[in-house]
């Protein structure tokens, strides 16, 4: 499942180009919509692109963990477990980025870093905690098959938080705005282009980081095999 190094370098270059294009489009070219004309709001709006893109990658990464976990339980092949674990780790990194950038966004627009009553924020925090627990569980478990089985079940159950986090602001009344697929939240064509560039750029960055993380996992396995041969 490892990506060749030249493919990973190409992905990183493409991701960097797209994220820079998104930054230019979002910070310089795109018009701020009418609903964002307050004192600080235009500046905060321009930072929204990277927050949304990192949240998208978070959901995708945990979705890949679900697929890897499910496929492991079906096939008992450790490659699927490695994919699930690698994607969960990368997902936690991007979820951290989404939460921190969201807090900065909240401070600029709502005046506070965190609203404890907001279900969107709380579900995302729960999602982050679930997958931090998933990684902690794996790190403290011996036996590769046993670790893979138990973390696969944990990974499948934990993914329930993904739709809840994504849909919280659509199902319940929250302070968090709905940017995508919202009749009231039209962001205009310039901003939509910036958002699309950021989402595609972050997706390619995710694939690059996931490929690198899988390579490390693969090398660790080879190292363990070599160590056991040396020990014989």
């Amino acid at each position: 499942m490892c990506l060749p190094p030249n493919v990973r370098i190409a992905l990183l270059a493409a991701a960097a180009a797209l994220i820079l294009a998104a930054a230019y489009q979002g910070l310089v070219v795109a018009e701020v919509p009418d609903g964002w004309k307050g004192e600080r709001a235009p500046d905060m709006f321009r930072t929204m692109f990277f927050h949304v893109a990192s949240a998208w990658v978070t959901y995708m990464a945990f979705g890949v963990t679900f697929v890897g976990s499910f496929m492991y339980l079906r096939s008992r092949r450790l490659e699927w477990d490695a994919l699930a674990a690698a994607s969960a780790e990368v997902g936690v990194v991007f979820c951290t980025v989404a939460i921190v950038s969201g807090s900065l966004f909240a401070k600029g627009t709502w005046g506070v870093y965190w609203v404890w009553e907001d279900l969107k924020l709380m579900m995302t925090l729960v999602l982050w905690l679930v997958f931090v627990a998933y990684l902690a569980l794996r790190a403290n478990m011996s036996g590769r098959q046993r670790r893979a089985s138990q973390s696969a079940v944990f990974g499948i159950v934990g993914v329930i938080c993904v739709p809840l986090s994504f849909a919280a602001n659509r199902i319940w009344v929250t302070t968090h705005p709905t940017v995508i697929a919202s009749s009231s939240g039209d962001i205009g064509p310039g901003s939509a282009l910036a958002l699309m560039l950021a989402v595609v750029g972050f997706t390619l960055l995710y694939v690059h980081v996931l490929g690198t993380r899988l390579e490390v996992e693969h090398l660790r396995d080879e190292l363990e095999t070599l160590k056991s041969r040396v020990g014989d």
Binding site: T47, V97, V100, L223
Partner: protein, 48 residues
């Protein structure tokens, strides 16, 4: 954020964190490869 500059500094820290994570992964890979080379040499020396 009190000023826009503070916010951009915070964003720079976020990006730096992402790159530190990526760098850590690359360094881990190179360290494991070096360890594997040493082990392979040890195995070759023992004729395995």
């Amino acid at each position: 954020m009190d000023t826009l500059v503070n916010m951009y500094i915070a964003y720079a820290v976020i990006w730096a964190g992402l790159f530190v994570y990526l760098l850590k992964l690359h360094l881990d890979a190179r360290r494991i490869e070096a360890e594997m080379r040493t082990l392979r040499e040890a195995l070759d020396a023992r004729g395995k």
